[in-house]
């Protein structure tokens, strides 16, 4: 708990604490997390694929030492998969048992009225918490110590589901019609990520802090690669980051983001590379670029792109 408090005392402390768990955060990222904790508001993270949106939530969960409840969104996701579901099988068994026992329980009731009276006296368990199967959202609310709730790719869901989220995100509670309202004991820290497949509704955006994670600059990317792939040599790392940075200035269909840079660094380590060679780069380009057209565009320029940063440094 003390580690947790220290990390949330200031933005600087947050940056340091995140670095400890392997996430190199920019000032803006750390500020958003810090505010999310202080204001108890969900954080909506947007950015290109692979800039570390999901990773941020994972790292914060590790940092705060809280369980992570993750919900992957997709089209057609509905409340029975996101909030709760009744345990139908057990409910069926329960009614069977009830039927068997009913005769015995009501045997000595003489009139219909007396039988009904007796029936009311028997506790109604059919819709009770015992038969409730919690899905991610409810599970996150019921964690006794609090939790980090990651709602991944929220833009993939449809509008109706978005409306469902509003109650969870603003009041940290879920209404189950048969039981009542289930409130969080400790409000979870919620992260929502979006790839901008569609525009999210204003109501949802208003309830969230907004964080846009851009592609990192060279200095930040160097630190990220160093943290993620510690075994890489300094010179290679700098050269590699400079190469990726210059790739991003080209008109590509999908510019490489951080996760691709890190993957590439790992690839080069596996291949025992110490310096970027045009031939090697060309062979491993498919780690960085995910479209044939992009690879065709970059392949002939590889030599030029590698030498450029060296000239700049000299």
């Amino acid at each position: 708990m003390s580690r947790h408090d220290a990390a949330t005392s200031s933005v600087e402390a947050m940056i340091a604490a995140l670095a400890n768990v392997g996430y190199i955060a920019s000032h803006r990222v750390a500020t958003a997390v810090y505010l999310g904790l202080k204001l108890q508001k969900p954080i909506l993270i947007e950015g290109l694929a692979g800039v570390g949106k999901t990773q941020l939530a994972l790292s914060v969960a590790r940092l705060l030492d809280l369980p992570l409840v993750r919900m992957q969104c997709y089209e057609g996701l509905d409340e029975s998969k996101a909030l709760y579901e009744w345990k139908y099988g057990k409910q069926l068994l329960y009614t069977q048992i009830l039927k068997d026992r009913m005769g015995a329980a009501l045997a000595d009731a003489t009139s219909m009225d007396a039988a009904m009276e007796r029936l009311h006296g028997i506790g109604d368990l059919f819709f009770s918490e015992a038969f409730l199967e919690p899905r991610p959202l409810l599970k996150a609310l019921r964690q006794p110590e609090g939790a980090v709730l990651l709602i991944d790719e929220v833009d993939k869901t449809d509008e109706a589901f978005e409306a469902l989220l509003l109650e969870v995100l603003s009041a940290y509670q879920v209404s189950v019609p048969e039981i009542g309202v289930v409130s969080a004991t400790v409000p979870p820290l919620v992260f929502l990520t979006s790839n901008n497949v569609r525009d999210l509704g204003d109501a949802l955006k208003r309830r969230c802090l907004h964080l846009y994670i851009p592609l990192p600059d060279a200095a930040l990317e160097n630190r990220i690669v160093a943290a993620q792939v510690p075994e890489i040599e300094d010179a290679l790392r700098r050269q590699l980051v400079a190469f990726v940075q210059s790739l991003r200035t080209l008109e590509l269909r999908k510019a490489p983001s951080i996760s691709e840079t890190v993957d590439w660094a790992r690839t080069l380590i596996l291949l025992h590379a110490h310096v970027l060679e045009p031939a090697l780069v060309r062979e491993t380009l498919n780690v960085l670029l995910k479209f044939e057209r992009d690879i065709d565009l970059v392949a002939p320029q590889v030599a030029a792109l590698i030498s450029r940063p060296r000239v700049a440094e000299a």
Binding site: H27, A32, Y34, L35, H210
Partner: protein, 437 residues
């Protein structure tokens, strides 16, 4: 500190960020948590609370930097209590060259005469003079005039006259910045309103950028309005098969009911544009509009013609619409418009792109230069397509004059409208998208 933050929120609204009361409260709570001492921190924190998209972030940063480029008045700044007497103290400040105190006084005076309410640049001069009046410039002028009268101006040499000029300049600058902060939106709104109702043909090239931006914004709005609903459940229609399958686990008792759903079809659009000189401006904005609809449209084909017709989708796909107009003209040549030939080309080469989900949008003035209009071909297109829509940049009353075949063509169109301004274009596209719901 409440006041500066509220002013800032107002400036943000002027910069077209949506700041609702609940967001304003968030902003105040945020500021209370992070404090005002560290400006970079305040900026990041407020940005997280207020800017809700990547574009918002850019606008927020610009606005923040502009707003806080001056120093905030400090409540306990020296001289604040004394300025109430005005005149004399202002002179002292000016003589002492106390820039901070003058700035503080200017802020306070500006609030009293409501400089922040500025909403267009024609109020500038008036507000400058009001601001200076409130600060006590008349008294200084009297003082200077007195000295002049006594013939002592030359020898006094205390620099009051120069300080007065500096003060006026400072006030002017101050008012300009307030205008930039608070009146930017009204200026932009006025311009966009004007552009929205200007005829395409008369829009001057220097307005093209603003126009393109506006087109994109409108298109985006329409797209998000129309792309939200993909699936509509048909209430009350039980999907028996899927219900049974899903309730296998419960011994066939249908606990889980599945309702029939219907996928909402997304529009397919085929645009056929006359790009001869008389119509090319309209064609450019129509294409830009259609290509900005992105996610709201399933399939979009663009063809351009003057005498012969060519598929220009690949040109438009690769580059922006603005840059490709030249290339398009090059590809199809500068011949005189021939609708008959164009329809012939389209029907023999591209008709397979039209099916009953496709809306065909034809943009042209319908002036065939006397050659065969080939109504039979338009009929063929119409019979395959969901609808044919004809946009004509000319006014409707000139449709039956001269070599215009519009009256014949319009018989095959579900809609034939005059479309010469962005506003009209927006209406037409909105209707097309709506018809698919």
């Amino acid at each position: 500190m409440l006041q500066p933050l509220s002013d800032f929120l107002r400036a943000l609204r002027a910069a077209e960020l949506r700041v609702t009361p609940s967001e304003a409260m968030d902003a105040h709570r945020t500021a209370a948590i992070v404090g005002y001492a560290d400006r970079a921190l305040l900026r990041d924190a407020l940005c997280a609370a207020l800017a809700k998209s990547a574009e918002d972030v850019a606008r927020f940063e610009q606005c923040f930097d502009l707003f806080f480029s001056r120093d905030l008045p400090q409540e306990d700044a020296p001289g604040r209590g004394a300025v109430v007497q005005q005149g004399a103290t202002l002179v002292e400040m000016m003589l002492a060259g106390d820039a901070d105190a003058i700035a503080v006084e200017m802020e306070a005076a500006a609030r009293r005469v409501r400089v922040q309410q500025i909403d267009n640049r024609f109020q500038r001069a008036l507000l400058v003079s009001r601001l200076l009046g409130e600060m006590g410039l008349p008294a200084i002028d009297r003082l200077l005039a007195e000295r002049d009268g006594n013939g002592r101006r030359a020898e006094s040499g205390d620099g009051l006259a120069e300080a007065r000029d500096r003060l006026i300049k400072q006030a002017r600058h101050f008012v300009e910045r307030q205008e930039e902060l608070y009146a930017a939106r009204t200026a932009r709104q006025l311009r966009e309103e004007r552009l929205g109702s200007t005829r395409f043909a008369t829009i001057s090239p220097r307005d093209f950028d603003a126009m393109a931006q506006l087109v994109r914004r409108i298109a985006k709005r329409l797209a998000s309005q129309h792309s939200r609903r993909r699936l509509r459940s048909r209430r009350g229609m039980l999907d028996v098969g899927r219900t049974l399958r899903r309730s296998m686990g419960y011994g066939g008792i249908p606990f889980d009911t599945v309702w029939k759903r219907r996928a909402v079809t997304r529009p397919k659009i085929v645009a056929i544009c006359d790009v001869s000189r008389s119509v090319s401006a309209a064609a450019q904005f129509l294409l830009l509009f259609l290509y900005s609809l992105n996610e709201a449209v399933d399939q979009l084909d663009a063809y351009a013609f003057s005498d012969k017709l060519a598929d220009v989708g690949d040109l438009l796909e690769g580059r922006g619409v603005e840059e490709s107009i030249g290339a398009i003209l090059e590809r199809i040549g500068f011949g005189s418009t021939d609708y008959g030939r164009a329809f012939e080309d389209f029907v023999s080469n591209h008709l397979h792109r039209v099916d009953r989900r496709t809306t065909v949008i034809i943009l042209g003035d319908g002036r065939t230069n006397g050659v065969d209009p080939r109504l039979d071909l338009l009929r063929e297109i119409q019979s395959r397509a969901r609808a044919v829509i004809w946009l004509n940049p000319e006014q409707e009353r000139s449709w039956s004059s001269g070599d215009s075949e519009m009256q014949s063509y319009r018989r095959f169109c579900r809609v034939a409208v005059s479309c010469a301004t962005l506003r009209q274009l927006e209406q037409v596209v909105d209707e097309v998208l709506r018809s698919y719901h």
